[in-house]
Symmetry: C2
Subunit: 208 residues, 2 copies
DNA sequence: GTCTATACACCGATAGAC
DNA sequence: GTCTATCGGTGTATAGAC
């Protein structure tokens, strides 16, 4: 008996092609908009005919689903860990907020897919949604570390989401709402009762 | 000389038909999603053939443009005026925020069109954008009345936008972020230095 | 001016040959 | 797994009836 091969080369190849397709789809989304992705163009860029894509994705929405999962996995795996953050809670929350903000604003199409329900008929599957849940759960853990009440989570996500939404929609390419990230986080920290940073002149900035 | 008729019945009729078309388009958007509006279906509902719509709108995006303008005009004309608001600034800002929030959440398709850049290739024209500018300007005036610094506007809009975005995207039909409207406004008022409401126990909640 | 009829190029998706 | 052929749909242009 030979047993099963350790590596399934066929499956590996399949997965690699899926990734290649997704990359092409993202590139198109950045150029013409998330909702304007044409499967024929995706296929063309990876050297296929359009129907061949259906060997890799059951539908266009299934492709969006994979893109959704990939984007959230990306931010989950790349975002700063608690260990790498400043010890001052206010500085830490600022840094995390800036990380999310910059990530979202850097790719408006990705922001629309991950954070808005903009594609008619597309709803992320539970599996695709899991990385997003992970991100939320890890944010809850971070709050615990920083001494922020867990029930302040929804207010925090609304704050970050709103800054990103306004920047992308009303000042694309600018920094009008990026400048509001620090004030927003300061207001948030005040509200949840975080002690003020040590008065080091650089920690709390500006107003009060 | 007879002069010109006081009313141009033809133009009136034209305008009425345009409004009828827009209403049909909104109805479809609510049923199937903003980006899934099909001109043939719009035409069917108003008793036309699809190409006839081009007598009223130069393109589908021109229809979106008119819808954009109509939605912002609607909120501009319906939102509570300063005179009708509670005299307590904190209660007033809460009420205004709730008004916007409820308006946005009541119609997610409308929210997407007015507050997100979600339709590829659609950018509101300056004329269509004007009512949105009006709303912002009137909010600035309100801030002046309430004693809120004008440069807090961007933080305020981000706050409201974020609450709406999270509610629509992550808890449609629920009230998870509606419950955060009051906390968010309290945090905002604290941050901009608004004096606390009179400790009347009822002053910040209820109709003052 | 308003509308119909027709046509075109494109879309997502499917069937079936190889 | 990939192809060709094709289906019913889309936005939109245009010619012409009334």
């Amino acid at each position: 008996m030979l047993g099963e091969p350790i590596k399934d080369r066929r499956a590996e190849r399949h997965e690699a092609t899926r990734a290649e397709i997704i990359d092409a789809a993202w590139a198109i989304a950045r150029e013409v908009g998330l909702a304007a992705i044409a499967l024929r163009e995706v296929a063309r860029r990876v050297g296929m005919q359009a129907p061949s894509l259906y060997s890799y994705f059951a539908s266009k929405n299934a492709m969006y689903d994979a893109m959704f999962a990939q984007a959230w996995s990306d931010i989950r795996d790349k975002k700063p860990s608690y260990d790498s953050l400043p010890t001052d809670p206010r500085a830490a929350i600022r840094q995390v907020a800036h990380y999310f903000f910059d990530w979202a604003v850097a790719d408006p199409a990705r922001y629309l897919l991950t954070s808005q329900r903009t594609i008619p008929g597309f709803e992320p599957s539970p599996e695709a949604y899991q990385p997003a849940v992970d991100v939320v759960n890890e944010t809850v853990e971070l709050f615990a570390h920083l001494g922020i009440p867990a029930d302040a989570l929804d207010l925090y996500t609304a704050l970050v989401a709103g800054l990103c939404a306004q920047q992308v929609a009303n000042d694309p390419g600018g920094d009008r709402w990026k400048k509001q990230v620090d004030p927003a986080m300061d207001a948030f920290c005040d509200y949840v009762g975080l002690p003020a940073s040590k008065p080091r002149r650089t920690s709390s900035r500006g107003k009060r």
